[in-house]
């Protein structure tokens, strides 16, 4: 077992060796430009790109023609939201999203606000999920788009996108889903789910960084205004020479995911449950996000009265992430945890463990006593823990905020 142990699969994943092997050939041997129509080099690359497109489409039960290559989910989200907003703005300028979306959605919406669009940011329930009735109530005559993520990157909760799709379709509103964290982890069937646009990223599912895709529905047809102009690649929706090796990698990653998702989820889920069960009796621990409706690999916990960064420092053998402000440039604790109603203290005290394909039971077994002993150590150091133990209500104290 190598240290540190990687428990941050939601941040990114290693490239599966099977994926890397496929990619290498397309760097050295089959290096042609897939847009070159006049020779074998181009034809070989084009064939590989189209094969990859089929593999991506197959995982989500879509038509390969509905897949547009991008540089990642950030770009897919930008293209979907800005592209739809710009194309359909004559119909209306209202967009609905949620407060717990990834920054790639939120900051795109902020930009549209500056352009004169009106955005509604829905507050999730305390389990991290959006209430469908509340979402429906927010739909107006001038609403053109709803953008809700499938799986949240911090707390791992799974949104019922099939139900939202029925609602948006009945109101003739487009529905975009950021599926960066769900593809390969949660079944997606776009033949039945009424999703119009869906964003994907390769590096969250054992593919390379810097490549992603946007699903754009053909029936009923969804139109987008391109955000990147040039040679007219990808049916004009996204110009730029296709990164063959990256695309091949993404295709292979999606192919493997389709084949192994069910067994992999069971294995990872068992390890996650083992970790959770071993920590469950710790006093003042709070699981963030719905306990049932979440992906197998995610465990997000707040250990009250301990600051997340100091806990991560103690757990330097474990690569995890925290919602603590100290880990971000902003000095604000996680906006996702705040949005689900966690107070600042609990947001500061959170740790996110995300397990994946290469996580072993030995690694989980190593982590458990390490986590437990360091929580104890840091609580012995914590004046807040001492006060809590003495029965002092921390809210009754006048803190000086700085």
């Amino acid at each position: 077992m190598n240290l540190p142990i990687y428990f941050d699969y939601s941040a990114t994943t290693p490239v599966d060796p099977r994926v890397a092997e496929q990619m290498i050939q397309y760097l050295t041997q089959y290096f042609g430009n897939p847009a070159s129509r006049s020779h074998q080099f181009g034809w070989d690359s084009e064939k590989a790109v189209e094969k990859a497109r089929e593999n991506v489409a197959a995982l989500i039960n879509a038509n390969p023609k509905e897949i547009v290559w991008t540089s990642g989910a950030t770009e897919s989200n930008n293209l979907a939201i800005k592209g739809a907003a710009h194309f359909y703005q004559k119909k209306g300028k209202h967009i609905i999203t949620s407060m717990t979306e990834h920054k790639a959605v939120l900051d795109t919406c902020r930009q549209l606000e500056r352009e004169g669009f009106d955005i509604t940011y829905l507050n999730p329930q305390s389990n991290g999920l959006i209430d469908l009735k509340e979402l429906e109530a927010a739909v107006r005559d001038d609403t053109i788009l709803v953008s809700i993520m499938h799986v949240n990157n911090e707390i791992g909760v799974i949104t019922d996108i099939a139900a939202i799709g029925e609602m948006t379709r009945s109101h003739k509103v487009l529905f975009h889903v950021d599926a960066a964290q769900s593809a390969g982890k949660v079944p997606i069937d776009l033949a039945t789910m009424k999703v119009d646009l869906m964003s994907f990223s390769a590096h969250k599912i054992y593919g390379p960084k810097g490549i992603g895709a946007l699903y754009v529905r053909r029936k009923p047809r969804v139109r987008l205004e391109a955000q990147i102009h040039g040679g007219g690649h990808e049916r004009g929706m996204r110009s730029g020479t296709l990164a063959t090796h990256q695309i091949v990698g993404m295709g292979e990653a999606f192919r493997i995911a389709k084949e192994e998702m069910t067994t992999e989820n069971q294995r990872i889920g068992k390890l996650r449950d083992k970790l959770l069960n071993a920590l469950q009796d710790i006093e003042e621990m709070y699981i963030n996000g719905d306990e049932k409706q979440r992906i197998a690999g995610n465990l997000n916990i707040s250990f009250n009265f301990i600051e997340g960064e100091s806990l991560m420092m103690a757990l330097k053998d474990l690569a995890v992430s925290s919602g603590s402000a100290c880990t971000s440039a902003s000095l604000e604790p996680s906006y996702v945890l705040k949005a689900i109603g966690r107070n600042d203290e609990l947001a500061h005290s959170s740790l996110r463990f995300t397990l994946g394909r290469f996580t072993t039971e030995e690694e989980v077994d190593y982590a458990i006593p390490l986590i437990r002993s360091n929580i104890e150590k840091l609580r012995d150091l914590s004046p807040l823990w001492e006060m809590f133990k003495e029965g002092i209500d921390l809210n009754s104290i006048q803190w000086d905020s700085h």
């Binding site: 009265f305 600051e307 960064e309 402000a325 107070n343 150091l381 921390l394 000086d400 700085h402």
Partner: protein, 127 residues
């Protein structure tokens, strides 16, 4: 972010963790920061008849740099007169621990913890 050797040393082996009797006339307690901001420091000093700090204890909720700043502080104040202790500057703490700019607020908090403990002690002496 990488931590300096000194921050790691104080974090892994914090000095003078614990409590002094806050009702003792010779003990001054300072508690600064706020849970909502992610750091709370409690520093206690025990002052001898000669006005010299005999003992110091701390407990801190916060990041590694906050814990290290308060641990270092307890070492520094011991043996100092109240006047000397209140002259400790956050910049000295930040320098000693090689704190990066985003962690300067930890040393600022430590400085105000000493001042607040001394203030509490002085208040007790007046009654």
């Amino acid at each position: 972010m990488a931590y300096s050797e000194k921050v790691l040393d104080h974090y892994e082996k914090p000095r003078n963790v614990g409590n002094l009797d806050k009702d003792d006339q010779s003990v001054g307690t300072g508690m600064v920061g706020a849970p909502a901001c992610g750091d709370v420091m409690r520093l206690q000093i025990k002052v001898g008849d000669n006005g010299v700090i005999e003992d110091a204890k701390f407990k801190t909720y916060g990041c590694g740099s906050a814990i290290a700043s308060s641990s270092l502080l307890t070492e520094w104040v011991k043996g100092k007169t109240l006047e000397e202790a209140s002259a400790i500057k956050n910049t000295e703490i930040a320098e000693e621990l090689a704190l990066p700019p985003v962690k300067i607020h930890c040393s600022v908090l430590a400085e105000s913890a000493v001042k607040s403990a001394i203030e509490d002690y002085n208040k007790k002496q007046k009654v």
